[in-house]
């Protein structure tokens, strides 16, 4: 066994802390302490993401031989997962003070967090699937915590789709691993895996990522969950579906134009549909759910391009990584600001100007992370060999759609506070989170965790 240096120790702590806390939930007198300690695992995870990758940590006795570690694919996902859970933990700490059935919420929260970190850090398909399953099932407790009619309904839709997704993923797992002959990432396919296995993986992760037509549970659950749960769902768990696609699908090794077109088509459909449905919402968090569907649609274009031009996938992947980082940070911040409360100091309009920053980023105004992310998307669709250059003008339309959505969101949080809005955390906390999250992509860029765009390498060739 390799020596335990600092990054490895931190990796281990991120993986184990949630389970340690889970076992402590059984003891009632730890509850106040646990509430405050929720931030520990995400905080360590965030620091870990900014350290140089430390290689793999093997746990041969675990499951069917597990490996965990940070690599070029999951590093960005670790940043956004840690950031979103950090925000969620801060919100949960105050939410739990007043919530009914706090222990149940805490248990589900910790379980979902533990599963999410396990899947992000996993370096083998079985550990990934395990973390994914634990996270998905535990998140039911976040979606249906309130237990009123709306959240019960949201919970039912969520769990039915989640179980369907799990069953599909189980089949996909068996089929893909059988074809690759190994469980370790990257799954190395000598021959193209069977199409049914790819289809199962696409649909199974599509449920989590909000791919059309499996997106039903996303806005429902975002709207129904308490804010702390919603942040985790939107900022962290949604991305688990994306990471699943990146980890499991034969991207970069197999040319499959059919899958490329399916991803592109479903992505465009989602991008449009999310806007159309989103503007009709009256709940700001449900609106954010539709916005996620729309943004995931854009991210699916990267994957579609990867299937169409597999030799360029190594260039596309970092661009997609930056898009994920940008979107998750903006979405986490938007969620934190969705309570509709601002600090009581100074003019309100100033606060709202600050709170609309992540919205502007999502639209992609110049100098924002969204601007860089969309530039990356444009590079990918116009790259040679992809053959999607005709889509370029349509991306402007997507930007217009996002603008409308964000305007509507701002209107909803300022003028139409929800009657069912849960007790909000201190507005200062929200503010800190918004700022932290807004600068997140910038910091990540500086540390080389995510690359916003190639130096014109792609577009020059196009």
């Amino acid at each position: 066994m390799a020596t335990v240096d600092l990054p490895r120790l931190m990796l281990l702590m991120v993986l184990i802390l949630p389970w340690l806390m889970l076992s402590l939930t059984a003891v009632a007198r730890f509850a106040p302490w646990l509430r405050r300690a929720l931030v520990m695992a995400p905080a360590i995870g965030l620091v870990l993401a900014f350290l140089p990758p430390a290689g793999q940590f093997e746990m041969p006795g675990l499951l069917l031989g597990s490996r965990f570690g940070v690599d070029g694919v999951n590093r960005v996902f670790l940043v956004v997962t840690a950031l979103a859970w950090l925000a969620a933990s801060v919100l949960a700490a105050s939410y739990l003070l007043a919530a009914a059935r706090p222990r149940r919420f805490l248990t589900c929260f910790v379980l979902a967090m533990g599963g999410n970190f396990a899947l992000v850090l996993s370096q083998d398909a079985v550990s990934f699937f395990t973390g994914f399953a634990v996270m998905s099932l535990a998140a039911y407790g976040l979606v249906n915590h309130r237990g009123d009619t709306a959240s019960t309904y949201a919970g039912r839709v969520y769990i039915v789709l989640a179980i369907a997704g799990e069953v599909l993923l189980f089949a996909a797992l068996i089929g893909l691993v059988h074809s690759a002959g190994q469980i370790q990432f990257p799954l190395d396919f000598d021959a193209p895996p069977p199409d049914w296995a790819i289809a199962c993986a696409v649909l199974g992760f599509g449920v989590k990522a909000g791919m059309l037509p499996l997106q039903m549970s996303i806005p429902l659950s975002y709207g129904a969950a308490p804010l702390a749960g919603g942040v985790a769902l939107a900022g962290a768990m949604l991305n688990a579906g994306l990471l699943g696609w990146l980890r499991w699908l034969p991207l970069g090794s197999v040319e499959a134009s059919a899958w490329g077109l399916i991803f592109t088509g479903a992505g465009l459909l989602g991008a449009a549909w999310g806007v159309v449905q989103g503007v009709r919402q009256s709940s700001p968090t449900a609106l954010l759910g539709y916005s996620s569907i729309s943004q995931v649609g854009l991210m699916m274009l990267f994957i579609g391009a990867g299937f169409l031009a597999p030799d360029q996938w190594p260039l596309f992947l970092p661009l997609l990584g930056y898009f994920v980082l940008h979107h998750a940070c903006a979405k986490t911040a938007l969620f934190c600001a969705s309570s509709g409360q601002v600090p009581a100091v100074g003019p309100r309009w100033l606060w709202w100007a600050v709170f609309s920053l992540p919205g502007l980023a999502l639209i992609g105004v110049p100098l924002s992370s969204g601007y860089l992310a969309k530039a990356g998307l444009l590079e990918v669709v116009t790259a040679p060999g992809v053959g999607l250059a005709t889509l370029a003008p349509w991306l402007t339309l997507a930007t217009a759609g996002t603008t409308v959505l964000m305007a509507r969101w701002l209107y909803l949080v300022i003028y139409a506070p929800q009657p069912g809005t849960p007790p909000a955390p201190a507005p200062w906390v929200a503010l800190v989170l918004v700022v932290l999250v807004a600068v997140g992509p910038l910091v990540a860029m500086l540390f080389g965790v995510a690359v916003p765009a190639t130096q014109g390498g792609l577009s020059a060739a196009g």
Binding site: P60, L63, R104, A133, V134, L137, L168, L173, G175
Partner: protein, 498 residues
């Protein structure tokens, strides 16, 4: 007599002697009976530990007693018998604890624990049986020992259950006897051999062997509750909870599945069975049973029948693993022998706790019960999720190997069966969890026990917590040395050794 021959006999005697002594105890001698019960179970646990250690060191253990001219009673310890014997010994121990707590104030306890010990003796005999004749003898003994346990309560329902059980199992036993005698007359001694006794025997008529296979499978299939031979199982729910627990997890149902495993691997040999073309029909019957049991479970409001139909479905995973040719599927089937046992016994313990503590017998009465019996329901939740196949609980490991084995054998349709079964399992288990954890309690339960330190009597609470923890650990650390999976891999290696 040498040590290697004495040990298997001692393992049998540890429960046989206890059982016989307990029959003659007065009803009031609670302490003596408890001491006897627990020390019998404890001694067996230690002896099995010694046996495992010995086998690990490369010793062979075998006892041969002449029974009839040309027929011997053979007890031996191979990897497969060790797996089953350790499962039944561990689960016997926890079930004994549970049963002592469960029957604290009920009548006829000496009769109960006497037959209970005999039942375990028979199960251990089945596990250690070294040839088909010995297997048959203990298999029939099991029928006779469980019958009084089923009818223990003496109500009209339980008498009817006992009658139906006896009809089914005696008929099955008769067919089995015919099959065994027929095979013995053709093939000579039937000592179990990894890779099979009949493999490579070209002198026997394949059609005859197919008929005998059918007789043996039907004989074992009754206890294993293969559809359409399963009719007795849901009715037998009239039995007390510890009996149901043991019945579904190790004793009766498992004995049938174990018998099928023995026939396919150690009598016919898996590759020879495949060449006879008898495995595909078996796989189809098992698959049908898996789906049928789950569908029927969906429509049961009473908790125990829901669990019973679930057993019908889950035990066929073992048979399915046996019927798919290839080491990977073999691992899946064999490891499920242990995994299903742990998960199902947990569920039955919990069902017993609900009934004994709060008088809950129906799923519809379980609203909000998670707040009243949190530890019991945590154990139930772990076991139920394991049944669905949610990782990291043990059931997932079984399904993983079954699925991978199906693809190895080029039978992708089995993956569809597994997927349907998982979805159905979710459909009948998740609503229970939803009621327990997410619905408010409706109405008051009948509190049946004196309030104590724990949510229920500690002897009722500890067993499900232990078995649920094992179900979780055996899945989470499946790849560790000494896990059921490691044993199953060893067994599969030997079955396919050429």
């Amino acid at each position: 007599m040498t040590w290697s021959a004495a040990l298997p006999l001692l393992i049998l005697a540890s429960s046989l002697v206890t059982g016989l002594v307990i029959f003659f105890l007065k009803e009031q001698s609670v302490l003596l009976r408890t001491v006897l019960n627990l020390s019998g179970a404890g001694i067996k646990l230690i002896l099995v530990g010694v046996l495992m250690w010995g086998v690990y060191q490369g010793q062979t253990f075998e006892a041969r007693l002449p029974l009839l001219p040309d027929i011997e009673l053979v007890l031996h310890a191979d990897a497969l018998s060790l797996l089953f014997v350790s499962l039944s010994t561990v689960l016997w121990f926890v079930t004994t604890v549970y049963a002592i707590g469960y029957l604290e104030h009920s009548p006829h306890r000496s009769r109960f624990f006497g037959f209970f010990s005999l039942c375990v003796t028979a199960t251990v005999g089945i596990a250690l049986a070294g040839n088909l004749i010995t297997f048959l003898i203990f298999y029939e003994l099991l029928t006779l020992a469980t019958y009084p346990l089923l009818m223990h309560r003496g109500t009209a329902d339980s008498r009817r259950a006992g009658r139906i059980y006896l009809t089914y199992t005696l008929a099955g036993g008769a067919l089995l006897l015919v099959g065994v005698v027929w095979l013995k007359s053709l093939a000579g001694p039937l000592d179990f051999t990894a890779t099979g006794i009949l493999a490579g025997r070209t002198d026997l008529n394949p059609d005859t062997l197919r008929w005998i296979f059918l007789l043996l499978i039907v004989g074992f299939g009754v206890k294993a509750a293969l559809v359409p031979l399963h009719g007795w199982l849901p009715i037998s729910m009239a039995a007390p909870a510890p009996v149901s627990a043991l019945l579904h997890a190790v004793a009766v149902v498992k004995a049938g599945a174990f018998g099928i495993t023995r026939v396919v691997y150690d009598v016919y040999g898996v590759e020879f069975s495949a060449s006879l073309g008898v495995l595909m029909p078996l796989a189809i019957v098992a698959s049908f049973t898996i789906v049928y049991g789950s569908v029927r479970a969906l429509f049961q409001d009473k908790l125990k029948p829901r669990l019973a139909y679930s057993t019908i479905s889950q035990v066929s995973y073992i048979i399915l693993g046996t019927a798919i040719v290839g080491p990977v599927a073999t691992i899946g089937g064999i490891v499920h022998l242990v995994h299903q046992g742990l998960m199902k016994i947990t569920l039955f313990f919990c069902a017993g706790n609900l009934a004994e503590t709060l008088g809950i017998h129906r799923v519809s009465e379980m609203n909000g019960v998670g707040r009243r019996l949190p530890k019991t329901m945590v154990a139930f939740t772990v076991a139920a999720l394991g049944m669905i196949g949610v990782p990291p609980i043990a059931g997932f490991i079984s399904k993983w190997y079954l699925g991978a084995g199906a693809l190895d054998a080029n039978l992708p349709w089995i993956l569809v069966i597994l997927a349907i079964s998982s979805a159905l399992n979710a459909a009948y288990f998740l609503p229970i969890l939803y009621r327990a954890w997410f619905m408010p309690a409706t109405g008051a339960w009948q509190e049946r026990l004196e309030p104590g330190r724990f949510e229920t009597h500690w002897m009722l609470l500890m067993p499900p917590l232990v078995t649920a923890a094992l179900a979780l650990l055996f899945g989470l650390f499946a790849n560790m040395d000494g896990s059921p999976l490691a044993w199953a891999r060893l067994i599969a290696e030997r079955e396919y050794l050429r």
